[in-house]
Symmetry: C2
Subunit: 215 residues, 2 copies
């Protein structure tokens, strides 16, 4: 198909497609004439992937590039799949390491009995995030953290079960699935909040109290 048809098929403007081509996020088409190239199903799939990562995943083009590089690289050992996915997504999360809060994160992870690699960058990152939470809104005490970790364990178990036995598909699922499903989980959290808020408010109205007094 022509570039204009690739645009119609994927819902991405030709201007954006040309940008993807210039930036090598998308492989060149098969030259047909001096000014025209032919694009196929692989191009459609790749464009849909880029679009999903940018629009639904909220990734920067620099992150999209890292995801694509990881996808295009030779087979990654199966047990490293999620690690590769995590690294591809890392730069959005720059942070200032804080020794005291890294220790808090380490203690928490140890108390949960989670096995984490030595020197794992996720630990200081978790520490920095907990520090920000504590400083700005006094949230993230031990009990809250434990409930969040319970939720994280449910999701991680599901993540591992989702990895198929097909390696090529598995990396794709690990990377793309993690990015996109982070968003789904955020939306589900907000819907579950609404459900709970609505119920509490209704219960309070029925009992004649103020909604605040029920929480």
């Amino acid at each position: 198909m022509k570039l204009s048809e690739l645009s119609t098929e994927t819902g991405v403007s030709t201007a954006s497609l040309k940008y993807y081509l210039r930036e090598s996020l998308l492989a060149p088409g098969e030259p047909v004439t001096r000014t025209q190239s032919e694009y196929g199903p692989d191009h459609v799939e790749r464009v849909r992937l880029i679009r999903a990562l940018v629009e639904s995943g909220g990734l920067s083009l620099a992150q999209v590039r890292r995801v694509i590089d990881a996808l295009d690289s030779p087979t990654v050992p199966r047990h490293e799949l999620l690690g590769v996915a995590q690294e591809a997504l890392m730069d959005a999360e720059r942070f200032d390491e804080d020794a005291e809060w890294t220790a808090v994160a380490t203690t928490f992870v140890e108390r949960r009995g989670w096995r984490i690699q030595d020197g794992d960058v996720l630990i200081p990152q978790l520490g920095a995030q907990l520090k920000a939470l504590a400083e700005t809104c006094d949230v993230g005490g031990r009990e809250t953290l434990d409930r969040w970790a319970d939720a994280a364990e449910i999701v991680a178990a599901s993540d591992l079960d989702t990895l198929t036995d097909d390696d090529a598909q598995a990396l794709r699922t690990a990377i793309v699935g993690t990015v996109l499903s982070d968003k789904v989980l955020q939306t589900l959290r907000r819907l579950a909040q609404q459900n709970r808020t609505g119920r509490l408010y209704e219960a309070a109205r029925e009992s004649g109290g103020s909604p605040g007094s029920n929480q």
Copy 2:
């Protein structure tokens, strides 16, 4: 304190502080001389908040502005707190509404028994996210979604319990806490994935199988 001292106290450059002042994200200081102003503890707190939202929360300055506007607005009814927080964060998530997938999201939420307001924008948003997941990596089937919803319910219950009885503090917690703790949850998910992957791999090695055969 002087602007330079505010910078030292918060770890934010004077250039950034001047930008916050120009953009009215930060209230002007008390003029002391024609070229100098005096800043106080409220300024320190506000700068820390902006920094946390940008660095740890990954928000754009446009989103930070909406969060700040919501925080500065007169008291919001308690049961609307989380709704206001959700709206302040909404624009990052532009999406194309898809009637078929909105119906999938509606059915799912109904099956969970969640009470959601009519016309809630989160439903088509969830639909668009599920569509992206299904199209790009074939993830997000009914069983997976149910496990994610289980996790979301745990987090939402914790969210509601965290709201204090102090209204001013509650909005702050609802908005800032949601942004920052989304990030904490992402990190915990990745750590829990590592823990699980590590254990599976080890078990496979001990039994002499390949790691893949255990998953």
